[in-house]
């Protein structure tokens, strides 16, 4: 057990715990916030693993952009504030989900642990990997990199087009969700 092992264990524990909380919490917004914690600590794990660039990008993109997007989405879809039992699937589905999750973990662990058993990374020499990563990105990986920029553009336009999609559901909503648009709820909201 080296120092790094101990640090990684601590950071990893935070990551795993926050991930678990983010999928089990009964409060919708808390789930997003626990995701924030999880991703942030994962960035710390990258740092411990010596990939500071990846860790920073993780912070920037995931924590800074994606989680914010998720929070926005929760707001726009009128996510309830406070604990809510209705955000989870029925118990039997959750049970199957837990079994499947455990199975996935076991499967991956049974694959990965033998692969990485005894493998170590020597990170104690004070060198940075960033120039190498930069050279690789703009050298070996430049075409995939450019393709990725195109993909981003396409996804941007796609998201725009999809959100412009006007899908009508005339009269159906009121009929299918009676009481949701009741005048009483409205006046309460206004007050």
């Amino acid at each position: 057990m080296t120092t790094r092992d101990i640090v990684f264990t601590a950071v990893g524990a935070v990551t795993a715990l926050s991930a678990l909380l983010s999928v089990t919490t009964k409060q919708v917004v808390h789930a997003a916030l626990w995701l924030l914690v999880c991703l942030g600590s994962l960035a710390g794990a990258y740092l411990v693993l010596g990939q500071e660039l990846v860790g920073l990008v993780q912070l920037l993109v995931y924590v800074g952009a994606i989680v914010v997007l998720v929070l926005f989405a929760l707001m726009l879809t009128r996510a309830p504030i406070g604990p809510h039992a209705e955000i989870d699937t029925p118990w039997w589905q959750r049970l199957v989900g837990a079994l499947l999750g455990a199975a996935t973990t076991a499967l991956l662990a049974s694959l990965l642990l033998p692969l990485f058993s005894g493998a170590t990374a020597d990170l104690d020499t004070p060198t940075t990997t960033t120039p190498r990563v930069a050279q690789a990105v703009f050298g070996t990986w430049v075409w995939p990199f450019e393709l990725l920029s195109v993909l981003l553009l396409v996804s941007l336009i796609g998201a725009f087009a999809v959100s412009r999609l006007v899908l009508h559901r005339d009269g159906g909503d009121g009929a299918r969700h009676p009481g949701t648009v009741s005048a009483g709820a409205r006046s309460d909201g206004r007050g």
């Binding site: 092992d5 795993a16 991930a19 660039l53 959750r94 991956l108 170590t120 990374a121 396409v154």
Partner: protein, 150 residues
């Protein structure tokens, strides 16, 4: 010096938690959180593999960066779809039986739709029901208010 079986184990754990998150949630955004966790498990595995001595071409970190980018693109589109679903059905409940009936082709657009449909704020469709009784901005939707009061 670090033992790489630790991050590998964390990766497996994250993937399992992500799978559980996908299956245990009925809110589509929360399902998306589970998907993010699985993606991060993959990222962590890539970084771990890239940290092995003698890993070629810096593939680990570079592919991690790519995956992060792709994840950003993916979540943008996924959230757009979720918003459209919310506008159409009034909820984002994945346990509800979907209604696949066709829309009336000659239905006129909402009068205020073309201007600000791209704006995320437009998600407040007049007919999108407030299923949890949250306040809605009646002043911005006079037509809807009149319709509901009528």
């Amino acid at each position: 010096m670090i033992h790489l079986s630790l991050p590998a184990a964390l990766s497996a754990l994250l993937a399992g938690i992500g799978v559980y998150g996908v299956l245990a949630r009925r809110n589509a955004v929360l399902v998306l959180i589970g998907v993010e966790l699985i993606l991060n498990a993959a990222n962590l595995l890539l970084v771990t593999a890239g940290s092995r001595p003698g890993a070629p071409l810096s593939a680990g970190p570079v592919l991690t960066l790519f995956v992060i980018t792709i994840a950003a693109a993916e979540i943008t589109v996924a959230l757009a779809i979720i918003l459209v679903m919310f506008r159409r059905t009034g909820h984002i409940d994945l346990t509800a039986v979907p209604d696949l009936t066709d829309d009336e082709p000659d239905e006129p657009d909402d009068p205020d739709d073309p201007d600000d449909a791209g704006d995320p704020g437009d998600a407040e469709d007049p007919r999108a029901a407030d299923r949890d009784g949250h306040p809605r901005d009646a002043t911005r939707e006079p037509a809807a208010a009149g319709e509901a009061l009528a």
